[in-house]
Protein backbone atom coordinates (compact mmCIF):
# COMPACT_ATOMS: atom_id res chain seq x y z
CA UNK A 1 0.00 0.00 0.00
CA UNK A 2 1.32 3.46 -0.85
CA UNK A 3 2.28 5.45 2.23
CA UNK A 4 1.21 9.07 1.77
CA UNK A 5 3.34 10.45 4.64
CA UNK A 6 6.78 10.61 2.93
CA UNK A 7 5.30 11.57 -0.45
CA UNK A 8 3.52 14.57 1.06
CA UNK A 9 6.98 15.77 2.11
CA UNK A 10 8.86 14.89 -1.08
CA UNK A 11 6.39 16.20 -3.69
CA UNK A 12 6.28 19.95 -2.95
CA UNK A 13 10.07 20.58 -2.94
CA UNK A 14 10.30 18.41 -6.09
CA UNK A 15 7.94 20.58 -8.11
CA UNK A 16 9.32 23.71 -6.48
CA UNK A 17 12.85 23.02 -7.66
CA UNK A 18 11.63 21.92 -11.11
CA UNK A 19 9.70 25.20 -11.37
CA UNK A 20 12.93 27.02 -10.47
CA UNK A 21 14.72 25.14 -13.25
CA UNK A 22 12.05 26.10 -15.77
CA UNK A 23 12.73 29.77 -15.15
CA UNK A 24 11.01 33.05 -14.26
CA UNK A 25 7.21 32.98 -14.40
CA UNK A 26 7.09 29.27 -15.17
CA UNK A 27 5.81 26.30 -13.20
CA UNK A 28 2.14 27.11 -12.65
CA UNK A 29 0.86 24.00 -14.37
CA UNK A 30 3.45 21.88 -12.55
CA UNK A 31 2.24 23.33 -9.25
CA UNK A 32 -1.37 22.48 -9.98
CA UNK A 33 -0.48 18.90 -10.90
CA UNK A 34 1.64 18.57 -7.75
CA UNK A 35 -1.04 20.07 -5.53
CA UNK A 36 -3.73 17.83 -6.96
CA UNK A 37 -1.62 14.77 -6.16
CA UNK A 38 -0.91 16.15 -2.69
CA UNK A 39 -4.60 16.72 -2.04
CA UNK A 40 -5.32 13.11 -3.02
CA UNK A 41 -2.52 11.94 -0.70
CA UNK A 42 -3.90 14.04 2.16
CA UNK A 43 -7.36 12.50 1.73
CA UNK A 44 -5.75 9.08 1.59
CA UNK A 45 -3.87 9.74 4.83
CA UNK A 46 -7.02 10.94 6.56
CA UNK A 47 -8.82 7.77 5.44
CA UNK A 48 -6.01 5.53 6.66
CA UNK A 49 -5.90 7.28 10.04
CA UNK A 50 -9.68 6.92 10.48
CA UNK A 51 -9.48 3.16 9.95
CA UNK A 52 -6.07 2.26 11.44
CA UNK A 53 -5.42 5.02 14.00
CA UNK A 54 -2.45 7.38 14.37
CA UNK A 55 0.90 6.43 12.92
CA UNK A 56 4.63 6.99 13.36
CA UNK A 57 7.11 6.94 10.47
CA UNK A 58 10.84 6.57 11.12
CA UNK A 59 12.84 8.54 8.53
CA UNK A 60 16.01 6.64 7.66
CA UNK A 61 14.70 3.61 9.50
CA UNK A 62 16.54 4.49 12.73
CA UNK A 63 13.64 5.51 14.91
CA UNK A 64 13.68 8.16 17.65
CA UNK A 65 15.71 9.28 19.51
CA UNK A 66 18.62 8.42 17.18
CA UNK A 67 16.79 9.26 13.96
CA UNK A 68 13.95 11.64 13.15
CA UNK A 69 10.39 10.41 13.54
CA UNK A 70 7.37 11.69 11.69
CA UNK A 71 3.96 11.35 13.29
CA UNK A 72 0.48 11.64 11.81
CA UNK A 73 -2.64 11.98 13.92
CA UNK A 74 -6.05 13.54 13.38
CA UNK A 75 -4.88 17.10 13.87
CA UNK A 76 -1.94 16.79 11.46
CA UNK A 77 -4.19 15.13 8.86
CA UNK A 78 -6.70 17.97 9.22
CA UNK A 79 -3.97 20.59 8.79
CA UNK A 80 -2.62 18.78 5.73
CA UNK A 81 -6.08 18.60 4.18
CA UNK A 82 -6.73 22.29 4.79
CA UNK A 83 -3.32 23.27 3.44
CA UNK A 84 -3.55 21.30 0.20
CA UNK A 85 -7.17 22.39 -0.40
CA UNK A 86 -6.54 26.09 0.08
CA UNK A 87 -3.21 26.00 -1.77
CA UNK A 88 -4.73 24.23 -4.77
CA UNK A 89 -7.56 26.75 -4.98
CA UNK A 90 -5.15 29.65 -4.64
CA UNK A 91 -2.85 28.14 -7.27
CA UNK A 92 -5.73 28.18 -9.76
CA UNK A 93 -6.43 31.77 -8.70
CA UNK A 94 -2.77 32.78 -8.97
CA UNK A 95 -2.46 31.37 -12.49
CA UNK A 96 -5.10 33.87 -13.57
CA UNK A 97 -3.83 36.64 -11.30
CA UNK A 98 -0.28 36.47 -12.67
CA UNK A 99 -1.30 35.61 -16.26
CA UNK A 100 0.91 37.32 -18.80
CA UNK A 101 3.40 38.58 -16.21
CA UNK A 102 6.86 37.07 -15.98
CA UNK A 103 8.59 39.81 -14.04
CA UNK A 104 8.00 41.36 -10.66
CA UNK A 105 6.18 39.27 -8.09
CA UNK A 106 5.28 36.65 -10.72
CA UNK A 107 8.89 35.73 -11.51
CA UNK A 108 9.59 33.25 -8.72
CA UNK A 109 6.09 32.84 -7.24
CA UNK A 110 5.80 29.12 -8.02
CA UNK A 111 9.09 27.85 -6.62
CA UNK A 112 8.65 30.04 -3.53
CA UNK A 113 5.11 28.69 -3.04
CA UNK A 114 6.37 25.13 -3.53
CA UNK A 115 8.94 25.51 -0.78
CA UNK A 116 6.34 27.19 1.42
CA UNK A 117 4.17 24.09 1.09
CA UNK A 118 7.17 21.81 1.61
CA UNK A 119 7.82 23.59 4.89
CA UNK A 120 4.21 23.35 6.06
CA UNK A 121 3.76 19.68 5.15
CA UNK A 122 7.06 18.83 6.85
CA UNK A 123 6.04 20.85 9.92
CA UNK A 124 2.63 19.19 10.27
CA UNK A 125 4.24 15.73 10.16
CA UNK A 126 7.38 16.25 12.23
CA UNK A 127 7.75 14.83 15.73
CA UNK A 128 11.25 16.11 16.39
CA UNK A 129 11.94 19.49 18.01
CA UNK A 130 15.08 20.29 16.04
CA UNK A 131 13.61 19.14 12.75
CA UNK A 132 10.70 21.46 13.52
CA UNK A 133 13.20 24.32 13.88
CA UNK A 134 14.45 23.69 10.34
CA UNK A 135 10.88 23.59 9.00
CA UNK A 136 10.13 26.86 10.80
CA UNK A 137 13.11 28.57 9.16
CA UNK A 138 12.11 27.14 5.78
CA UNK A 139 8.59 28.45 6.27
CA UNK A 140 9.77 31.88 7.43
CA UNK A 141 12.17 32.43 4.53
CA UNK A 142 9.62 31.27 1.96
CA UNK A 143 6.97 33.59 3.39
CA UNK A 144 9.37 36.54 3.48
CA UNK A 145 10.47 35.86 -0.09
CA UNK A 146 6.83 35.86 -1.22
CA UNK A 147 6.09 39.15 0.56
CA UNK A 148 9.19 40.85 -0.83
CA UNK A 149 8.88 39.50 -4.38
CA UNK A 150 8.77 42.30 -6.88
CA UNK A 151 10.83 44.56 -4.67
CA UNK A 152 8.45 47.47 -4.11
CA UNK A 153 9.40 49.81 -1.28
CA UNK A 154 6.53 49.11 1.12
CA UNK A 155 6.74 45.38 0.45
CA UNK A 156 10.47 45.21 1.10
CA UNK A 157 10.12 47.21 4.31
CA UNK A 158 7.33 44.90 5.50
CA UNK A 159 9.31 41.81 4.48
CA UNK A 160 12.42 42.94 6.33
CA UNK A 161 10.50 43.53 9.53
CA UNK A 162 8.74 40.19 9.11
CA UNK A 163 12.11 38.47 8.55
CA UNK A 164 13.75 39.96 11.63
CA UNK A 165 10.77 39.13 13.86
CA UNK A 166 10.64 35.62 12.47
CA UNK A 167 14.39 35.07 12.91
CA UNK A 168 14.45 36.27 16.52
CA UNK A 169 11.49 34.03 17.29
CA UNK A 170 13.25 31.06 15.66
CA UNK A 171 16.36 31.87 17.71
CA UNK A 172 14.33 31.79 20.92
CA UNK A 173 12.81 28.48 19.85
CA UNK A 174 16.28 27.08 19.12
CA UNK A 175 17.53 28.12 22.57
CA UNK A 176 14.56 26.24 23.98
CA UNK A 177 15.56 23.16 21.99
CA UNK A 178 19.13 23.46 23.31
CA UNK A 179 17.85 23.57 26.92
CA UNK A 180 15.61 20.56 26.34
CA UNK A 181 18.47 18.59 24.81
CA UNK A 182 20.73 19.53 27.71
CA UNK A 183 18.14 18.29 30.22
CA UNK A 184 16.96 15.06 28.61
CA UNK A 185 19.49 14.21 25.90
CA UNK A 186 16.85 13.97 23.16
CA UNK A 187 14.71 16.19 20.93
CA UNK A 188 12.13 13.58 20.00
CA UNK A 189 8.69 14.68 21.19
CA UNK A 190 7.53 11.10 21.77
CA UNK A 191 10.58 10.31 23.92
CA UNK A 192 10.26 13.60 25.83
CA UNK A 193 6.55 13.50 26.63
CA UNK A 194 6.71 10.89 29.42
CA UNK A 195 9.86 12.51 30.87
CA UNK A 196 8.42 15.98 31.47
CA UNK A 197 6.28 16.59 34.56
CA UNK A 198 5.49 19.49 36.86
CA UNK A 199 8.70 18.78 38.83
CA UNK A 200 10.83 19.46 35.73
CA UNK A 201 13.97 21.54 36.31
CA UNK A 202 14.00 25.29 35.67
CA UNK A 203 15.66 24.80 32.26
CA UNK A 204 12.57 23.00 30.96
CA UNK A 205 10.22 25.72 32.19
CA UNK A 206 12.39 28.34 30.50
CA UNK A 207 12.51 26.26 27.33
CA UNK A 208 8.73 25.92 27.32
CA UNK A 209 8.37 29.68 27.89
CA UNK A 210 10.82 30.58 25.11
CA UNK A 211 9.25 28.17 22.64
CA UNK A 212 5.70 29.23 23.45
CA UNK A 213 6.66 32.90 23.16
CA UNK A 214 8.35 32.23 19.81
CA UNK A 215 5.21 30.58 18.46
CA UNK A 216 2.97 33.39 19.74
CA UNK A 217 5.19 35.93 17.96
CA UNK A 218 5.13 33.91 14.74
CA UNK A 219 1.35 33.50 14.98
CA UNK A 220 1.06 37.29 15.49
CA UNK A 221 -0.87 37.06 18.75
CA UNK A 222 -1.59 40.49 20.26
CA UNK A 223 0.66 42.35 21.25
CA UNK A 224 3.12 40.66 18.85
CA UNK A 225 0.84 41.30 15.88
CA UNK A 226 2.61 44.49 14.74
CA UNK A 227 4.43 42.80 11.86
CA UNK A 228 1.35 41.17 10.35
CA UNK A 229 -0.78 44.00 8.89
CA UNK A 230 2.07 45.51 6.80
CA UNK A 231 3.28 42.09 5.58
CA UNK A 232 -0.16 40.65 4.77
CA UNK A 233 -1.45 44.02 3.60
CA UNK A 234 1.28 44.81 1.08
CA UNK A 235 1.80 41.44 -0.63
CA UNK A 236 -0.05 40.45 -3.86
CA UNK A 237 -3.51 38.98 -3.16
CA UNK A 238 -2.65 35.26 -3.62
CA UNK A 239 0.34 35.68 -1.30
CA UNK A 240 -1.71 37.51 1.37
CA UNK A 241 -4.24 34.69 1.17
CA UNK A 242 -1.59 31.98 1.62
CA UNK A 243 -0.02 33.80 4.55
CA UNK A 244 -3.23 34.70 6.37
CA UNK A 245 -5.03 31.42 5.76
CA UNK A 246 -2.17 28.97 6.28
CA UNK A 247 1.24 30.21 7.38
CA UNK A 248 0.28 31.65 10.77
CA UNK A 249 -1.73 28.49 11.47
CA UNK A 250 1.46 26.45 11.17
CA UNK A 251 3.10 28.11 14.17
CA UNK A 252 -0.17 27.92 16.09
CA UNK A 253 -0.36 24.21 15.30
CA UNK A 254 3.13 23.77 16.70
CA UNK A 255 2.21 25.64 19.87
CA UNK A 256 -0.87 23.47 20.34
CA UNK A 257 1.17 20.33 19.65
CA UNK A 258 3.79 21.27 22.24
CA UNK A 259 1.17 22.38 24.75
CA UNK A 260 -0.73 19.10 24.50
CA UNK A 261 2.37 16.97 24.02
CA UNK A 262 5.48 17.50 26.09
CA UNK A 263 4.50 20.63 27.96
CA UNK A 264 1.01 19.71 29.15
CA UNK A 265 2.08 19.53 32.79
CA UNK A 266 3.67 22.98 32.58
CA UNK A 267 1.00 24.76 30.55
CA UNK A 268 -1.77 24.50 33.13
CA UNK A 269 -0.11 27.15 35.31
CA UNK A 270 -0.28 29.98 32.79
CA UNK A 271 -3.13 28.88 30.55
CA UNK A 272 -5.00 32.09 31.39
CA UNK A 273 -2.31 34.24 29.71
CA UNK A 274 -2.83 33.20 26.09
CA UNK A 275 -6.56 33.45 26.76
CA UNK A 276 -6.31 37.06 27.92
CA UNK A 277 -4.05 37.98 25.00
CA UNK A 278 -6.44 36.25 22.63
CA UNK A 279 -9.36 38.26 24.02
CA UNK A 280 -7.36 41.46 23.61
CA UNK A 281 -6.50 40.45 20.04
CA UNK A 282 -10.19 39.97 19.18
CA UNK A 283 -11.16 43.40 20.47
CA UNK A 284 -8.10 45.32 19.24
CA UNK A 285 -7.90 43.64 15.82
CA UNK A 286 -11.61 44.17 15.15
CA UNK A 287 -11.48 47.85 16.12
CA UNK A 288 -8.48 48.42 13.83
CA UNK A 289 -10.30 46.60 11.03
CA UNK A 290 -13.34 48.84 11.50
CA UNK A 291 -11.12 51.91 11.28
CA UNK A 292 -8.88 50.82 8.38
CA UNK A 293 -9.11 52.86 5.19
CA UNK A 294 -7.30 50.37 2.94
CA UNK A 295 -9.20 47.22 2.02
CA UNK A 296 -6.27 44.82 2.53
CA UNK A 297 -5.36 46.41 5.85
CA UNK A 298 -8.95 45.80 6.95
CA UNK A 299 -8.73 42.13 6.05
CA UNK A 300 -5.27 41.80 7.63
CA UNK A 301 -6.53 43.27 10.94
CA UNK A 302 -9.45 40.89 10.75
CA UNK A 303 -6.84 38.12 10.76
CA UNK A 304 -5.31 39.61 13.92
CA UNK A 305 -8.76 39.42 15.52
CA UNK A 306 -9.57 35.91 14.31
CA UNK A 307 -6.24 34.58 15.63
CA UNK A 308 -7.47 35.65 19.05
CA UNK A 309 -10.20 32.96 19.07
CA UNK A 310 -7.51 30.29 18.66
CA UNK A 311 -5.88 31.36 21.91
CA UNK A 312 -9.15 31.41 23.86
CA UNK A 313 -9.02 27.61 23.88
CA UNK A 314 -5.97 27.36 26.15
CA UNK A 315 -7.71 28.21 29.46
CA UNK A 316 -10.51 25.81 28.47
CA UNK A 317 -8.42 22.82 27.34
CA UNK A 318 -8.07 21.20 30.75
CA UNK A 319 -11.78 21.27 31.65
CA UNK A 320 -14.87 19.68 30.12
CA UNK A 321 -16.27 20.44 26.68
CA UNK A 322 -14.77 20.47 23.23
CA UNK A 323 -12.31 23.40 23.34
CA UNK A 324 -9.68 21.47 21.35
CA UNK A 325 -12.21 20.69 18.62
CA UNK A 326 -13.32 24.33 18.67
CA UNK A 327 -9.74 25.44 18.04
CA UNK A 328 -9.28 23.03 15.15
CA UNK A 329 -12.62 24.09 13.65
CA UNK A 330 -11.60 27.75 13.92
CA UNK A 331 -8.29 27.00 12.15
CA UNK A 332 -10.07 25.34 9.24
CA UNK A 333 -12.99 27.72 8.88
CA UNK A 334 -10.84 30.84 9.19
CA UNK A 335 -8.35 29.32 6.75
CA UNK A 336 -11.04 28.87 4.10
CA UNK A 337 -12.81 32.15 4.82
CA UNK A 338 -9.70 34.31 4.92
CA UNK A 339 -8.32 32.80 1.72
CA UNK A 340 -11.70 33.59 0.14
CA UNK A 341 -11.71 37.13 1.50
CA UNK A 342 -8.21 38.00 0.25
CA UNK A 343 -9.03 36.38 -3.08
CA UNK A 344 -12.17 38.51 -3.32
CA UNK A 345 -10.27 41.63 -2.34
CA UNK A 346 -7.73 40.85 -5.08
CA UNK A 347 -10.58 40.81 -7.60
CA UNK A 348 -12.06 44.06 -6.27
CA UNK A 349 -8.72 45.82 -6.36
CA UNK A 350 -8.02 44.59 -9.86
CA UNK A 351 -11.45 45.83 -10.99
CA UNK A 352 -11.37 49.26 -9.35
CA UNK A 353 -7.63 49.79 -9.70
CA UNK A 354 -7.65 51.22 -6.17
CA UNK A 355 -7.15 49.77 -2.74
CA UNK A 356 -9.35 51.86 -0.46
CA UNK A 357 -12.67 50.86 1.03
CA UNK A 358 -14.18 54.12 -0.27
CA UNK A 359 -13.43 53.25 -3.89
CA UNK A 360 -15.76 50.23 -3.75
CA UNK A 361 -18.89 52.19 -4.65
CA UNK A 362 -20.73 50.52 -7.51
CA UNK A 363 -18.94 47.19 -7.18
CA UNK A 364 -22.12 45.35 -6.21
CA UNK A 365 -23.59 45.80 -9.67
CA UNK A 366 -20.44 44.86 -11.52
CA UNK A 367 -19.03 41.96 -9.51
CA UNK A 368 -21.96 40.39 -7.66
CA UNK A 369 -20.29 36.97 -7.41
CA UNK A 370 -17.16 38.35 -5.77
CA UNK A 371 -19.15 40.50 -3.41
CA UNK A 372 -21.27 37.49 -2.51
CA UNK A 373 -18.04 35.56 -1.82
CA UNK A 374 -16.84 38.37 0.45
CA UNK A 375 -20.17 38.31 2.27
CA UNK A 376 -20.15 34.52 2.70
CA UNK A 377 -16.62 34.64 4.09
CA UNK A 378 -17.88 37.37 6.40
CA UNK A 379 -20.66 35.06 7.60
CA UNK A 380 -17.99 32.61 8.74
CA UNK A 381 -15.90 35.29 10.43
CA UNK A 382 -18.97 36.62 12.28
CA UNK A 383 -19.86 33.09 13.31
CA UNK A 384 -23.39 32.88 11.87
CA UNK A 385 -24.98 29.46 11.30
CA UNK A 386 -24.46 27.15 9.50
CA UNK A 387 -20.86 28.17 8.88
CA UNK A 388 -17.71 26.51 10.22
CA UNK A 389 -17.08 29.69 12.16
CA UNK A 390 -20.44 29.27 13.88
CA UNK A 391 -19.57 25.73 14.91
CA UNK A 392 -16.15 26.81 16.22
CA UNK A 393 -17.58 29.68 18.26
CA UNK A 394 -20.52 27.65 19.48
CA UNK A 395 -18.19 24.90 20.76
CA UNK A 396 -16.05 27.57 22.46
CA UNK A 397 -19.04 29.17 24.20
CA UNK A 398 -20.32 25.75 25.17
CA UNK A 399 -16.99 24.78 26.77
CA UNK A 400 -16.73 28.14 28.54
CA UNK A 401 -20.25 27.88 30.00
CA UNK A 402 -19.77 24.27 31.01
CA UNK A 403 -16.70 25.27 33.01
CA UNK A 404 -18.37 28.36 34.44
CA UNK A 405 -15.88 30.67 32.70
CA UNK A 406 -18.55 32.86 31.15
CA UNK A 407 -16.12 35.74 30.48
CA UNK A 408 -14.65 33.95 27.48
CA UNK A 409 -18.15 33.40 26.10
CA UNK A 410 -18.83 37.12 26.33
CA UNK A 411 -15.64 37.85 24.37
CA UNK A 412 -16.69 35.44 21.62
CA UNK A 413 -20.08 37.14 21.26
CA UNK A 414 -18.58 40.64 21.29
CA UNK A 415 -16.06 39.56 18.64
CA UNK A 416 -18.87 38.37 16.39
CA UNK A 417 -20.63 41.73 16.63
CA UNK A 418 -17.41 43.63 15.88
CA UNK A 419 -16.74 41.38 12.88
CA UNK A 420 -20.22 42.21 11.60
CA UNK A 421 -19.31 45.90 11.83
CA UNK A 422 -16.28 45.68 9.53
CA UNK A 423 -17.83 43.19 7.10
CA UNK A 424 -20.96 45.34 6.67
CA UNK A 425 -18.82 48.44 6.29
CA UNK A 426 -17.36 46.91 3.11
CA UNK A 427 -20.71 45.60 1.86
CA UNK A 428 -22.53 48.90 2.45
CA UNK A 429 -19.87 50.80 0.51
CA UNK A 430 -20.09 48.31 -2.36
CA UNK A 431 -23.84 48.82 -2.69
CA UNK A 432 -23.54 52.60 -3.07
CA UNK A 433 -23.94 53.98 -6.58
CA UNK A 434 -20.69 54.51 -8.43
CA UNK A 435 -19.75 58.03 -9.49
CA UNK A 436 -20.69 58.41 -13.19
CA UNK A 437 -17.15 58.34 -14.59
CA UNK A 438 -16.06 55.20 -12.76
CA UNK A 439 -14.29 52.68 -14.93
CA UNK A 440 -14.03 49.00 -14.00
CA UNK A 441 -11.33 46.71 -15.37
CA UNK A 442 -12.36 43.27 -16.54
CA UNK A 443 -11.25 40.48 -14.16
CA UNK A 444 -10.85 36.81 -15.13
CA UNK A 445 -13.96 34.87 -14.09
CA UNK A 446 -11.78 32.09 -12.72
CA UNK A 447 -10.56 34.38 -9.95
CA UNK A 448 -14.13 35.18 -8.95
CA UNK A 449 -15.13 31.52 -8.87
CA UNK A 450 -12.17 30.54 -6.70
CA UNK A 451 -13.08 33.22 -4.16
CA UNK A 452 -16.68 32.05 -4.22
CA UNK A 453 -15.74 28.38 -3.92
CA UNK A 454 -13.54 28.95 -0.89
CA UNK A 455 -16.17 31.12 0.78
CA UNK A 456 -18.91 28.59 0.13
CA UNK A 457 -16.70 25.84 1.55
CA UNK A 458 -16.15 27.84 4.75
CA UNK A 459 -19.90 28.15 5.22
CA UNK A 460 -20.77 24.56 4.30
CA UNK A 461 -18.01 23.29 6.59
CA UNK A 462 -20.39 23.64 9.51
CA UNK A 463 -22.56 20.88 8.02
CA UNK A 464 -19.62 18.46 7.92
CA UNK A 465 -18.50 19.19 11.49
CA UNK A 466 -19.09 15.65 12.72
CA UNK A 467 -16.64 14.16 10.19
CA UNK A 468 -13.95 16.64 11.17
CA UNK A 469 -14.47 15.95 14.87
CA UNK A 470 -14.21 12.24 14.19
CA UNK A 471 -10.91 12.78 12.39
CA UNK A 472 -9.63 14.87 15.31
CA UNK A 473 -10.44 11.95 17.58
CA UNK A 474 -7.52 10.00 16.09
CA UNK A 475 -5.05 10.60 18.90
CA UNK A 476 -1.26 10.65 19.01
CA UNK A 477 0.34 7.26 18.37
CA UNK A 478 2.65 6.05 21.11
Amino acid sequence: MLDPIPWLIVLPPAWASLAFLLGPGRGGRLAIIGLTLQLALAFMLAGQLLTDGARVYAVGGWGAPLGIDLAADGLSALMLLLTQTVALALAIYARAYFAGGHGGPAAWFWPLTGFLLAAMNALFLSADLFNLYVTLELLGLAAVGLVAAGGGGTQVAAALRYLLVSLVASGAYLLGVALIYATYGTVSIATLTPLIDAQAPLAVWLAAGLMALAMMVKTALFPFHFWLPPAHGSAPAPVSALLSALVIKASFYLLLRLWLGGFEALGAVIAWLPGVLGAAAIIWGSIQAIRASRLKTLVAYSTVAQIGYLFLIFPLLAGGGLAYQAGAMQIVSHGLAKAAMFAAVGVLMRATGRDTVDSLAGVAGRLPLTLFAFGLAGVTLMGLPPSGGFLAKWLLIDAALEQGQWGWAAVVIAGGLLAAAYVFRVLRQAFLLAPPATHFEAVPRRMEWVAFGLAAASVLLGLRGMELIALLGVGVAT
Binding site: F130, L160, L164, G171, L174
Partner: protein, 95 residues
Protein backbone atom coordinates in the same frame (compact mmCIF):
# COMPACT_ATOMS: atom_id res chain seq x y z
CA UNK B 1 33.64 24.12 36.06
CA UNK B 2 34.09 22.58 32.61
CA UNK B 3 34.92 24.29 29.32
CA UNK B 4 31.45 23.33 28.09
CA UNK B 5 29.81 25.19 30.94
CA UNK B 6 31.94 28.33 30.41
CA UNK B 7 30.97 28.53 26.76
CA UNK B 8 27.33 27.77 27.53
CA UNK B 9 27.21 30.71 29.95
CA UNK B 10 28.95 32.89 27.35
CA UNK B 11 26.28 31.73 24.91
CA UNK B 12 23.52 32.79 27.29
CA UNK B 13 25.00 36.30 27.52
CA UNK B 14 25.46 36.51 23.75
CA UNK B 15 21.87 35.41 23.17
CA UNK B 16 20.51 38.00 25.57
CA UNK B 17 22.76 40.72 24.17
CA UNK B 18 21.66 39.90 20.64
CA UNK B 19 17.97 39.77 21.53
CA UNK B 20 18.12 43.15 23.27
CA UNK B 21 20.16 44.49 20.34
CA UNK B 22 17.62 43.50 17.71
CA UNK B 23 14.90 45.29 19.67
CA UNK B 24 16.83 48.37 20.76
CA UNK B 25 19.19 49.24 17.90
CA UNK B 26 17.90 51.41 15.07
CA UNK B 27 20.21 50.77 12.15
CA UNK B 28 19.25 47.75 10.03
CA UNK B 29 22.82 46.52 9.73
CA UNK B 30 23.15 46.53 13.52
CA UNK B 31 19.94 44.58 13.88
CA UNK B 32 21.36 41.99 11.49
CA UNK B 33 24.62 41.83 13.48
CA UNK B 34 22.62 41.46 16.69
CA UNK B 35 20.58 38.62 15.21
CA UNK B 36 23.81 36.82 14.31
CA UNK B 37 25.09 37.22 17.88
CA UNK B 38 21.82 35.81 19.17
CA UNK B 39 22.20 32.79 16.89
CA UNK B 40 25.82 32.19 17.88
CA UNK B 41 24.73 32.36 21.51
CA UNK B 42 22.10 29.67 21.01
CA UNK B 43 24.65 27.47 19.20
CA UNK B 44 27.16 27.81 22.05
CA UNK B 45 24.48 26.90 24.60
CA UNK B 46 23.54 23.86 22.56
CA UNK B 47 27.05 22.41 22.25
CA UNK B 48 28.37 23.73 25.56
CA UNK B 49 25.58 22.30 27.70
CA UNK B 50 25.64 18.95 25.90
CA UNK B 51 29.35 18.70 26.73
CA UNK B 52 29.16 20.09 30.27
CA UNK B 53 30.30 16.69 31.57
CA UNK B 54 33.42 16.79 29.43
CA UNK B 55 32.61 14.22 26.71
CA UNK B 56 32.06 15.04 23.02
CA UNK B 57 28.53 14.79 21.60
CA UNK B 58 28.36 14.75 17.77
CA UNK B 59 24.57 15.29 17.63
CA UNK B 60 24.58 18.99 18.61
CA UNK B 61 27.65 19.46 16.40
CA UNK B 62 25.58 18.40 13.39
CA UNK B 63 22.65 20.55 14.55
CA UNK B 64 24.86 23.63 14.89
CA UNK B 65 26.35 23.03 11.44
CA UNK B 66 22.80 23.07 10.10
CA UNK B 67 22.09 26.18 12.16
CA UNK B 68 25.12 28.07 10.84
CA UNK B 69 24.10 27.43 7.25
CA UNK B 70 20.51 28.51 7.96
CA UNK B 71 21.82 31.63 9.64
CA UNK B 72 24.06 32.71 6.77
CA UNK B 73 21.16 32.14 4.37
CA UNK B 74 18.92 34.35 6.49
CA UNK B 75 21.63 36.99 6.86
CA UNK B 76 22.15 37.14 3.10
CA UNK B 77 18.41 37.56 2.53
CA UNK B 78 18.18 40.25 5.21
CA UNK B 79 21.11 42.17 3.72
CA UNK B 80 19.63 41.92 0.23
CA UNK B 81 16.34 43.31 1.58
CA UNK B 82 18.15 46.12 3.40
CA UNK B 83 20.01 47.07 0.23
CA UNK B 84 16.86 46.99 -1.81
CA UNK B 85 15.09 49.18 0.71
CA UNK B 86 17.86 51.73 0.51
CA UNK B 87 17.95 51.62 -3.29
CA UNK B 88 14.19 52.23 -3.48
CA UNK B 89 14.41 55.05 -0.95
CA UNK B 90 17.30 56.71 -2.76
CA UNK B 91 15.84 56.34 -6.23
CA UNK B 92 12.04 55.97 -6.27
CA UNK B 93 12.07 55.31 -10.03
CA UNK B 94 13.64 51.93 -9.39
CA UNK B 95 10.40 50.82 -7.80
Amino acid sequence: MSAGLIYALTGVLLFVMGAAGVVLLDHLLRKILAFNLLGSGAFLVMVGLAQRGGGVDPVPHAMVLTGIVVSVAATALALALARRLLAVDADPEQD
